[in-house]
Protein backbone atom coordinates (compact mmCIF):
# COMPACT_ATOMS: atom_id res chain seq x y z
CA UNK A 1 0.00 0.00 0.00
CA UNK A 2 1.33 3.38 -0.99
CA UNK A 3 -0.24 6.84 -0.70
CA UNK A 4 0.89 9.85 -2.76
CA UNK A 5 -0.69 13.24 -3.27
CA UNK A 6 -0.66 16.13 -5.69
CA UNK A 7 -2.63 19.33 -6.09
CA UNK A 8 -4.62 19.70 -9.33
CA UNK A 9 -6.89 22.66 -9.94
CA UNK A 10 -9.02 23.20 -6.88
CA UNK A 11 -8.61 19.75 -5.39
CA UNK A 12 -6.02 17.68 -3.60
CA UNK A 13 -5.63 14.35 -5.39
CA UNK A 14 -4.63 11.52 -3.07
CA UNK A 15 -3.66 8.35 -4.93
CA UNK A 16 -3.60 4.98 -3.27
CA UNK A 17 -1.77 2.03 -4.73
CA UNK A 18 -1.83 -1.67 -3.88
CA UNK A 19 -4.03 -3.38 -1.31
CA UNK A 20 -5.88 -1.93 1.65
CA UNK A 21 -6.96 -4.64 4.09
CA UNK A 22 -7.35 -5.27 7.80
CA UNK A 23 -3.58 -5.36 8.26
CA UNK A 24 -2.89 -1.86 6.89
CA UNK A 25 -6.24 -0.02 6.95
CA UNK A 26 -5.22 2.17 9.89
CA UNK A 27 -1.89 2.96 8.28
CA UNK A 28 -3.73 3.89 5.08
CA UNK A 29 -6.13 6.16 6.98
CA UNK A 30 -3.31 7.91 8.86
CA UNK A 31 -1.33 8.37 5.63
CA UNK A 32 -4.32 9.98 3.90
CA UNK A 33 -5.23 12.11 6.90
CA UNK A 34 -1.68 13.40 7.25
CA UNK A 35 -1.75 14.79 3.69
CA UNK A 36 -5.28 16.17 3.83
CA UNK A 37 -4.74 17.80 7.22
CA UNK A 38 -2.28 20.25 5.63
CA UNK A 39 -5.04 21.42 3.32
CA UNK A 40 -8.55 22.75 3.72
CA UNK A 41 -10.00 22.18 0.24
CA UNK A 42 -11.70 19.39 -1.66
CA UNK A 43 -10.15 15.92 -1.69
CA UNK A 44 -10.28 13.32 -4.44
CA UNK A 45 -9.15 9.79 -3.63
CA UNK A 46 -7.81 8.26 -6.83
CA UNK A 47 -8.16 4.47 -6.79
CA UNK A 48 -6.82 3.70 -10.24
CA UNK A 49 -3.99 1.60 -8.78
CA UNK A 50 -5.90 0.18 -5.85
CA UNK A 51 -6.16 -3.55 -6.46
CA UNK A 52 -8.07 -4.68 -3.37
CA UNK A 53 -9.99 -3.15 -0.49
CA UNK A 54 -11.44 -5.01 2.48
CA UNK A 55 -14.30 -3.86 4.69
CA UNK A 56 -11.73 -2.49 7.15
CA UNK A 57 -10.44 -0.31 4.28
CA UNK A 58 -13.96 0.84 3.45
CA UNK A 59 -14.39 1.83 7.06
CA UNK A 60 -11.20 3.92 6.81
CA UNK A 61 -12.70 5.70 3.81
CA UNK A 62 -15.86 6.43 5.80
CA UNK A 63 -13.76 7.88 8.62
CA UNK A 64 -11.81 10.03 6.14
CA UNK A 65 -15.09 11.20 4.57
CA UNK A 66 -16.51 11.97 7.99
CA UNK A 67 -13.48 14.09 8.90
CA UNK A 68 -13.79 16.05 5.65
CA UNK A 69 -17.51 16.54 6.17
CA UNK A 70 -16.77 18.07 9.58
CA UNK A 71 -14.57 20.72 7.99
CA UNK A 72 -17.00 21.22 5.07
CA UNK A 73 -14.65 19.89 2.41
CA UNK A 74 -15.96 18.08 -0.65
CA UNK A 75 -14.88 14.46 -1.04
CA UNK A 76 -15.04 12.04 -3.94
CA UNK A 77 -13.36 8.87 -5.13
CA UNK A 78 -12.43 8.19 -8.73
CA UNK A 79 -11.08 5.66 -11.25
CA UNK A 80 -12.25 2.52 -9.42
CA UNK A 81 -11.19 -0.78 -10.93
CA UNK A 82 -14.14 -3.04 -11.74
CA UNK A 83 -13.70 -5.27 -8.68
CA UNK A 84 -13.45 -2.26 -6.35
CA UNK A 85 -16.52 -0.66 -7.97
CA UNK A 86 -18.37 -3.93 -7.36
CA UNK A 87 -17.41 -3.87 -3.67
CA UNK A 88 -18.69 -0.29 -3.37
CA UNK A 89 -21.91 -1.28 -5.11
CA UNK A 90 -22.57 -4.38 -2.97
CA UNK A 91 -21.92 -2.59 0.31
CA UNK A 92 -24.07 0.29 -0.92
CA UNK A 93 -21.36 2.91 -0.53
CA UNK A 94 -21.89 4.07 -4.11
CA UNK A 95 -24.91 5.82 -2.60
CA UNK A 96 -23.05 7.60 0.17
CA UNK A 97 -19.69 8.37 -1.44
CA UNK A 98 -19.46 10.34 -4.69
CA UNK A 99 -17.79 8.22 -7.38
CA UNK A 100 -16.32 9.55 -10.64
CA UNK A 101 -15.03 7.44 -13.49
CA UNK A 102 -11.86 9.48 -14.00
CA UNK A 103 -9.66 11.99 -12.23
CA UNK A 104 -10.51 14.61 -14.86
CA UNK A 105 -14.23 14.13 -14.34
CA UNK A 106 -13.78 14.38 -10.56
CA UNK A 107 -11.72 17.59 -10.80
CA UNK A 108 -14.19 19.32 -13.09
CA UNK A 109 -17.15 18.21 -10.97
CA UNK A 110 -15.48 19.66 -7.88
CA UNK A 111 -14.67 22.89 -9.63
CA UNK A 112 -18.29 23.54 -10.52
Amino acid sequence: MDVTSQRTGGALIVSVEGRVDGANARKFQKAVESVIDDDDGAVILDMENLSYISSAGLRSILLIAKGLQKRNSQFAVCSLQDAIGEVFRIVGFDKIVTIHSSQGEAVSAMGS
Partner: protein, 386 residues
Amino acid sequence: MNRPYKILVVDDEPDLEPLMLQRMRRHIRAGRYSFVFARNGLEALDRLNEDGDIDMVLSDINMPQMDGLTLLEQIPKVDPNIRSVIISAYGDMKNIRTAMNRGAFDFVTKPVDFKDLQITIERTLAHMMEWREALSYRDKLVSIQNELEVASRIQQSILPSEFPDDLRYQVYGNMEPARDVGGDFFDIMLLDEGQIGLAIADVSDKGVPAALFMMSCRTLLKGVAIGLTEPGAVLGEVNDLLHEDNETMLFVTVLYAVYNPSTGEFTYASGGHDAPLLIRSDGSVSLLPLTDGIALGVVPELEYKQHSITLGPGDTVVLYTDGVTEAQNTDGSAFEVDGLHQIFAGSSAYLKAREGTDLVFEKVREFMGEASQFDDITCLTLHRDN
Protein backbone atom coordinates in the same frame (compact mmCIF):
# COMPACT_ATOMS: atom_id res chain seq x y z
CA MET B 1 11.30 1.93 42.82
CA ASN B 2 10.78 3.14 46.38
CA ARG B 3 12.94 0.81 48.41
CA PRO B 4 16.74 0.79 48.02
CA TYR B 5 18.20 -1.85 45.72
CA LYS B 6 19.35 -4.70 47.93
CA ILE B 7 22.81 -6.02 47.12
CA LEU B 8 24.24 -9.22 48.60
CA VAL B 9 28.01 -9.08 48.94
CA VAL B 10 29.70 -12.50 49.27
CA ASP B 11 33.38 -12.59 50.35
CA ASP B 12 35.34 -14.48 52.97
CA GLU B 13 37.46 -11.37 53.69
CA PRO B 14 35.92 -9.80 56.80
CA ASP B 15 37.47 -6.43 55.90
CA LEU B 16 35.30 -5.98 52.81
CA GLU B 17 32.10 -5.36 54.79
CA PRO B 18 33.17 -2.15 56.63
CA LEU B 19 35.04 -0.96 53.55
CA MET B 20 31.98 -1.38 51.31
CA LEU B 21 29.69 0.35 53.80
CA GLN B 22 32.16 3.21 54.13
CA ARG B 23 32.77 3.73 50.39
CA MET B 24 29.12 3.41 49.46
CA ARG B 25 27.85 5.45 52.42
CA ARG B 26 26.49 8.28 50.30
CA HIS B 27 24.42 5.93 48.17
CA ILE B 28 23.23 4.10 51.27
CA ARG B 29 22.21 7.35 52.95
CA ALA B 30 20.46 8.50 49.77
CA GLY B 31 18.38 5.33 49.92
CA ARG B 32 19.77 4.01 46.65
CA TYR B 33 21.45 0.83 47.94
CA SER B 34 21.27 -1.41 50.94
CA PHE B 35 23.82 -4.16 51.58
CA VAL B 36 23.71 -7.58 53.16
CA PHE B 37 26.79 -9.75 53.56
CA ALA B 38 27.70 -13.44 53.46
CA ARG B 39 31.07 -15.18 53.98
CA ASN B 40 30.69 -18.01 51.46
CA GLY B 41 28.38 -19.46 48.84
CA LEU B 42 26.31 -21.51 51.27
CA GLU B 43 25.65 -18.54 53.52
CA ALA B 44 24.79 -16.53 50.43
CA LEU B 45 22.18 -19.10 49.33
CA ASP B 46 20.66 -19.00 52.82
CA ARG B 47 20.41 -15.22 52.63
CA LEU B 48 18.85 -15.36 49.16
CA ASN B 49 16.26 -17.87 50.32
CA GLU B 50 15.46 -16.03 53.55
CA ASP B 51 15.36 -12.46 52.27
CA GLY B 52 13.56 -12.97 48.94
CA ASP B 53 14.04 -9.36 47.91
CA ILE B 54 17.71 -9.30 46.90
CA ASP B 55 18.22 -7.59 43.54
CA MET B 56 21.83 -8.42 42.77
CA VAL B 57 24.78 -10.46 44.04
CA LEU B 58 28.38 -9.31 44.14
CA SER B 59 30.58 -12.34 44.81
CA ASP B 60 34.22 -13.28 45.24
CA ILE B 61 35.36 -16.51 43.54
CA ASN B 62 37.62 -18.31 46.01
CA MET B 63 35.78 -19.01 49.26
CA PRO B 64 35.52 -21.96 51.68
CA GLN B 65 32.52 -24.33 51.70
CA MET B 66 31.06 -23.08 48.45
CA ASP B 67 32.98 -20.99 45.95
CA GLY B 68 31.63 -18.18 43.78
CA LEU B 69 31.48 -20.22 40.58
CA THR B 70 29.31 -22.88 42.25
CA LEU B 71 27.17 -20.14 43.77
CA LEU B 72 26.59 -18.72 40.28
CA GLU B 73 25.04 -22.01 39.22
CA GLN B 74 22.76 -22.07 42.25
CA ILE B 75 21.41 -18.50 42.10
CA PRO B 76 18.98 -19.02 39.16
CA LYS B 77 17.37 -21.87 41.10
CA VAL B 78 16.46 -19.39 43.83
CA ASP B 79 15.45 -16.57 41.46
CA PRO B 80 16.37 -16.46 37.76
CA ASN B 81 15.94 -12.68 37.70
CA ILE B 82 18.78 -11.90 40.13
CA ARG B 83 21.87 -10.52 38.39
CA SER B 84 25.38 -11.38 39.58
CA VAL B 85 28.72 -9.60 39.36
CA ILE B 86 31.96 -11.48 40.09
CA ILE B 87 35.02 -10.09 41.86
CA SER B 88 38.10 -11.82 40.47
CA ALA B 89 41.86 -11.56 40.68
CA TYR B 90 43.30 -9.23 38.08
CA GLY B 91 43.98 -11.09 34.82
CA ASP B 92 42.35 -14.33 35.96
CA MET B 93 40.72 -14.82 32.56
CA LYS B 94 40.05 -18.52 33.09
CA ASN B 95 37.76 -17.96 36.09
CA ILE B 96 36.24 -14.84 34.55
CA ARG B 97 35.28 -16.82 31.46
CA THR B 98 33.83 -19.63 33.54
CA ALA B 99 31.85 -17.07 35.55
CA MET B 100 30.47 -15.40 32.42
CA ASN B 101 29.56 -18.80 30.98
CA ARG B 102 27.67 -19.56 34.16
CA GLY B 103 25.56 -16.44 33.78
CA ALA B 104 27.47 -13.69 35.58
CA PHE B 105 26.38 -10.33 34.19
CA ASP B 106 29.77 -8.62 34.64
CA PHE B 107 32.97 -8.73 36.68
CA VAL B 108 35.27 -6.38 38.57
CA THR B 109 38.89 -7.09 39.48
CA LYS B 110 40.86 -6.86 42.71
CA PRO B 111 41.92 -4.57 44.19
CA VAL B 112 38.40 -3.20 43.93
CA ASP B 113 38.15 0.27 42.44
CA PHE B 114 34.97 1.48 44.15
CA LYS B 115 34.20 4.12 41.56
CA ASP B 116 34.31 1.46 38.85
CA LEU B 117 32.32 -0.90 41.05
CA GLN B 118 29.61 1.68 41.49
CA ILE B 119 29.32 2.14 37.70
CA THR B 120 29.14 -1.64 37.29
CA ILE B 121 26.40 -1.88 39.94
CA GLU B 122 24.36 0.83 38.17
CA ARG B 123 24.73 -0.90 34.81
CA THR B 124 23.68 -4.21 36.31
CA LEU B 125 20.64 -2.69 38.03
CA ALA B 126 19.58 -0.87 34.86
CA HIS B 127 19.76 -4.13 32.93
CA MET B 128 17.82 -5.93 35.61
CA MET B 129 15.06 -3.31 35.61
CA GLU B 130 14.70 -3.53 31.84
CA TRP B 131 14.56 -7.27 32.12
CA ARG B 132 11.83 -7.09 34.77
CA GLU B 133 9.86 -4.63 32.67
CA ALA B 134 10.10 -6.91 29.63
CA LEU B 135 8.91 -9.81 31.79
CA SER B 136 5.90 -7.85 33.00
CA TYR B 137 4.97 -6.90 29.41
CA ARG B 138 5.25 -10.53 28.44
CA ASP B 139 2.97 -11.53 31.32
CA LYS B 140 0.46 -8.86 30.29
CA LEU B 141 0.51 -10.10 26.70
CA VAL B 142 -0.08 -13.63 27.86
CA SER B 143 -3.05 -12.49 29.92
CA ILE B 144 -4.50 -10.46 27.02
CA GLN B 145 -4.05 -13.51 24.81
CA ASN B 146 -5.95 -15.60 27.33
CA GLU B 147 -8.76 -13.08 27.45
CA LEU B 148 -9.00 -13.07 23.65
CA GLU B 149 -9.32 -16.83 23.68
CA VAL B 150 -12.15 -16.57 26.18
CA ALA B 151 -13.81 -13.89 24.01
CA SER B 152 -13.49 -16.16 21.00
CA ARG B 153 -15.17 -19.01 22.86
CA ILE B 154 -18.00 -16.72 23.99
CA GLN B 155 -18.46 -15.58 20.41
CA GLN B 156 -18.52 -19.10 19.04
CA SER B 157 -20.97 -20.14 21.73
CA ILE B 158 -23.60 -17.60 20.65
CA LEU B 159 -23.76 -19.04 17.15
CA PRO B 160 -26.52 -21.60 16.67
CA SER B 161 -25.19 -25.12 17.18
CA GLU B 162 -28.53 -26.84 16.93
CA PHE B 163 -30.69 -26.48 13.88
CA PRO B 164 -34.46 -26.70 13.42
CA ASP B 165 -35.74 -30.20 12.92
CA ASP B 166 -38.52 -29.99 10.34
CA LEU B 167 -39.59 -32.37 7.58
CA ARG B 168 -40.32 -29.50 5.18
CA TYR B 169 -36.92 -27.82 5.20
CA GLN B 170 -33.36 -27.97 6.50
CA VAL B 171 -31.01 -25.21 7.52
CA TYR B 172 -27.35 -25.47 8.49
CA GLY B 173 -24.64 -22.89 9.11
CA ASN B 174 -21.00 -22.69 10.11
CA MET B 175 -18.46 -19.94 10.84
CA GLU B 176 -14.69 -20.15 11.05
CA PRO B 177 -12.98 -17.06 12.45
CA ALA B 178 -9.72 -15.88 10.91
CA ARG B 179 -8.36 -14.40 14.12
CA ASP B 180 -9.21 -15.07 17.73
CA VAL B 181 -12.24 -12.82 17.67
CA GLY B 182 -13.99 -12.14 14.44
CA GLY B 183 -16.73 -10.06 12.91
CA ASP B 184 -18.92 -12.61 11.13
CA PHE B 185 -22.01 -14.25 12.51
CA PHE B 186 -25.14 -16.06 11.45
CA ASP B 187 -28.40 -16.66 13.26
CA ILE B 188 -31.58 -18.64 12.91
CA MET B 189 -34.75 -17.42 14.63
CA LEU B 190 -38.06 -19.17 15.05
CA LEU B 191 -40.73 -16.56 14.35
CA ASP B 192 -44.52 -16.39 14.64
CA GLU B 193 -46.73 -18.59 12.46
CA GLY B 194 -44.00 -21.17 11.92
CA GLN B 195 -41.80 -18.84 9.89
CA ILE B 196 -38.06 -18.77 10.37
CA GLY B 197 -35.67 -15.81 10.25
CA LEU B 198 -32.21 -16.36 8.75
CA ALA B 199 -29.40 -13.85 9.17
CA ILE B 200 -25.82 -13.73 8.00
CA ALA B 201 -23.59 -10.76 8.73
CA ASP B 202 -20.07 -9.41 8.42
CA VAL B 203 -18.75 -6.58 10.59
CA SER B 204 -16.08 -4.38 8.99
CA ASP B 205 -12.67 -5.13 10.47
CA LYS B 206 -11.59 -7.77 12.97
CA GLY B 207 -10.47 -7.88 16.55
CA VAL B 208 -12.02 -6.73 19.80
CA PRO B 209 -13.94 -3.58 18.65
CA ALA B 210 -15.47 -5.49 15.75
CA ALA B 211 -16.41 -8.36 18.05
CA LEU B 212 -18.18 -6.01 20.47
CA PHE B 213 -20.02 -4.36 17.59
CA MET B 214 -20.95 -7.80 16.26
CA MET B 215 -22.39 -8.85 19.63
CA SER B 216 -24.61 -5.80 19.86
CA CYS B 217 -25.63 -6.17 16.23
CA ARG B 218 -26.66 -9.76 16.74
CA THR B 219 -28.66 -8.93 19.88
CA LEU B 220 -30.44 -6.00 18.19
CA LEU B 221 -31.23 -8.09 15.14
CA LYS B 222 -32.71 -10.87 17.25
CA GLY B 223 -34.80 -8.45 19.27
CA VAL B 224 -36.11 -6.54 16.25
CA ALA B 225 -36.75 -9.68 14.16
CA ILE B 226 -39.13 -11.10 16.74
CA GLY B 227 -41.34 -7.99 16.60
CA LEU B 228 -41.30 -7.30 12.85
CA THR B 229 -42.02 -9.72 10.03
CA GLU B 230 -40.79 -7.76 7.00
CA PRO B 231 -37.01 -8.19 6.43
CA GLY B 232 -36.69 -4.66 5.00
CA ALA B 233 -38.29 -3.14 8.10
CA VAL B 234 -36.05 -5.24 10.36
CA LEU B 235 -32.89 -3.93 8.66
CA GLY B 236 -34.18 -0.33 8.81
CA GLU B 237 -34.79 -0.58 12.54
CA VAL B 238 -31.46 -2.29 13.31
CA ASN B 239 -29.66 0.27 11.14
CA ASP B 240 -31.09 3.17 13.16
CA LEU B 241 -30.23 1.51 16.46
CA LEU B 242 -26.66 0.79 15.35
CA HIS B 243 -26.18 4.25 13.93
CA GLU B 244 -26.82 5.98 17.26
CA ASP B 245 -23.44 7.03 18.69
CA ASN B 246 -21.50 5.13 16.07
CA GLU B 247 -18.44 7.39 16.10
CA THR B 248 -16.19 4.49 15.17
CA MET B 249 -17.80 4.10 11.74
CA LEU B 250 -17.81 0.36 12.17
CA PHE B 251 -20.47 -1.04 9.93
CA VAL B 252 -22.04 -4.40 9.28
CA THR B 253 -23.32 -5.96 6.11
CA VAL B 254 -26.37 -8.12 6.78
CA LEU B 255 -28.53 -10.36 4.71
CA TYR B 256 -31.76 -11.05 6.54
CA ALA B 257 -34.43 -13.38 5.21
CA VAL B 258 -37.75 -14.74 6.38
CA TYR B 259 -38.71 -18.17 5.12
CA ASN B 260 -42.19 -19.59 5.21
CA PRO B 261 -41.93 -23.41 5.26
CA SER B 262 -45.60 -23.86 4.34
CA THR B 263 -45.44 -21.90 1.10
CA GLY B 264 -41.70 -21.93 0.28
CA GLU B 265 -41.75 -18.14 0.14
CA PHE B 266 -38.30 -16.70 0.80
CA THR B 267 -38.22 -12.93 1.40
CA TYR B 268 -34.90 -11.22 1.92
CA ALA B 269 -33.35 -7.81 2.28
CA SER B 270 -29.66 -6.99 1.93
CA GLY B 271 -27.86 -4.29 3.87
CA GLY B 272 -24.74 -4.12 1.76
CA HIS B 273 -24.31 -7.89 1.82
CA ASP B 274 -23.36 -10.26 -0.98
CA ALA B 275 -26.22 -11.70 -3.02
CA PRO B 276 -27.41 -15.19 -2.01
CA LEU B 277 -26.88 -18.08 -4.36
CA LEU B 278 -29.95 -19.98 -5.55
CA ILE B 279 -29.64 -23.59 -6.68
CA ARG B 280 -32.80 -24.86 -8.30
CA SER B 281 -33.68 -28.53 -8.12
CA ASP B 282 -32.73 -28.92 -11.80
CA GLY B 283 -29.15 -27.96 -10.92
CA SER B 284 -29.24 -24.43 -12.35
CA VAL B 285 -27.34 -21.89 -10.28
CA SER B 286 -27.91 -18.13 -10.11
CA LEU B 287 -27.29 -15.16 -7.84
CA LEU B 288 -30.43 -13.63 -6.40
CA PRO B 289 -30.78 -9.93 -7.22
CA LEU B 290 -29.39 -7.48 -4.65
CA THR B 291 -31.91 -5.19 -2.99
CA ASP B 292 -29.56 -2.18 -3.09
CA GLY B 293 -29.42 -1.64 0.65
CA ILE B 294 -26.52 0.15 2.34
CA ALA B 295 -24.42 -1.56 5.03
CA LEU B 296 -25.91 -0.97 8.51
CA GLY B 297 -24.65 1.57 11.01
CA VAL B 298 -23.47 4.30 8.62
CA VAL B 299 -26.45 6.39 7.48
CA PRO B 300 -29.63 6.74 9.58
CA GLU B 301 -33.25 6.52 8.50
CA LEU B 302 -32.81 4.36 5.44
CA GLU B 303 -35.53 2.32 3.84
CA TYR B 304 -34.48 -1.17 2.93
CA LYS B 305 -36.14 -2.82 -0.03
CA GLN B 306 -36.89 -6.52 0.02
CA HIS B 307 -37.38 -9.17 -2.60
CA SER B 308 -39.33 -12.43 -2.60
CA ILE B 309 -38.89 -15.69 -4.42
CA THR B 310 -40.56 -19.05 -3.96
CA LEU B 311 -38.45 -22.08 -3.30
CA GLY B 312 -39.76 -25.16 -4.96
CA PRO B 313 -39.18 -28.63 -3.55
CA GLY B 314 -35.49 -29.48 -3.81
CA ASP B 315 -34.36 -25.85 -4.17
CA THR B 316 -31.48 -24.54 -2.07
CA VAL B 317 -30.32 -21.05 -1.05
CA VAL B 318 -26.74 -20.47 0.08
CA LEU B 319 -25.93 -17.37 2.17
CA TYR B 320 -22.25 -16.57 2.63
CA THR B 321 -19.84 -13.81 3.65
CA ASP B 322 -17.03 -12.36 1.56
CA GLY B 323 -14.62 -14.58 3.50
CA VAL B 324 -15.79 -17.23 1.02
CA THR B 325 -15.56 -15.27 -2.21
CA GLU B 326 -12.40 -13.37 -1.24
CA ALA B 327 -10.51 -16.39 0.11
CA GLN B 328 -7.11 -16.39 -1.56
CA ASN B 329 -4.86 -19.17 -2.71
CA THR B 330 -1.06 -19.07 -2.59
CA ASP B 331 -0.95 -17.31 -6.00
CA GLY B 332 -3.02 -14.46 -4.56
CA SER B 333 -6.10 -15.11 -6.69
CA ALA B 334 -9.54 -15.13 -5.07
CA PHE B 335 -12.20 -17.83 -4.91
CA GLU B 336 -14.79 -15.39 -6.33
CA VAL B 337 -18.49 -15.95 -6.87
CA ASP B 338 -17.50 -18.15 -9.81
CA GLY B 339 -15.95 -20.58 -7.35
CA LEU B 340 -19.28 -20.82 -5.56
CA HIS B 341 -21.14 -21.30 -8.86
CA GLN B 342 -18.81 -24.15 -9.78
CA ILE B 343 -19.39 -25.94 -6.48
CA PHE B 344 -23.10 -26.20 -7.08
CA ALA B 345 -23.47 -26.19 -10.86
CA GLY B 346 -25.33 -29.34 -11.80
CA SER B 347 -25.82 -30.53 -8.23
CA SER B 348 -28.92 -32.57 -7.72
CA ALA B 349 -32.11 -31.88 -5.87
CA TYR B 350 -30.92 -34.27 -3.19
CA LEU B 351 -28.30 -31.76 -1.95
CA LYS B 352 -28.99 -31.22 1.73
CA ALA B 353 -28.40 -28.10 3.82
CA ARG B 354 -25.55 -29.51 5.83
CA GLU B 355 -23.94 -30.95 2.72
CA GLY B 356 -24.15 -27.53 1.05
CA THR B 357 -22.43 -25.68 3.89
CA ASP B 358 -19.81 -28.38 4.39
CA LEU B 359 -19.12 -28.45 0.66
CA VAL B 360 -18.45 -24.69 0.63
CA PHE B 361 -15.94 -25.01 3.49
CA GLU B 362 -14.31 -28.04 1.90
CA LYS B 363 -13.90 -26.40 -1.51
CA VAL B 364 -12.69 -23.08 -0.10
CA ARG B 365 -10.07 -24.84 2.04
CA GLU B 366 -9.01 -26.94 -0.92
CA PHE B 367 -8.66 -23.76 -3.00
CA MET B 368 -6.68 -21.90 -0.31
CA GLY B 369 -4.18 -24.72 0.09
CA GLU B 370 -1.30 -23.47 2.23
CA ALA B 371 -2.41 -19.80 2.03
CA SER B 372 -3.44 -18.24 5.33
CA GLN B 373 -7.00 -17.25 6.12
CA PHE B 374 -7.43 -13.45 6.27
CA ASP B 375 -11.15 -13.19 6.87
CA ASP B 376 -13.84 -15.04 8.76
CA ILE B 377 -15.58 -17.61 6.59
CA THR B 378 -19.29 -18.08 7.13
CA CYS B 379 -21.93 -20.00 5.22
CA LEU B 380 -25.60 -20.69 5.91
CA THR B 381 -27.63 -23.00 3.68
CA LEU B 382 -31.41 -23.39 3.45
CA HIS B 383 -32.92 -26.31 1.56
CA ARG B 384 -36.56 -27.06 0.85
CA ASP B 385 -37.19 -30.76 1.04
CA ASN B 386 -38.96 -32.67 -1.69
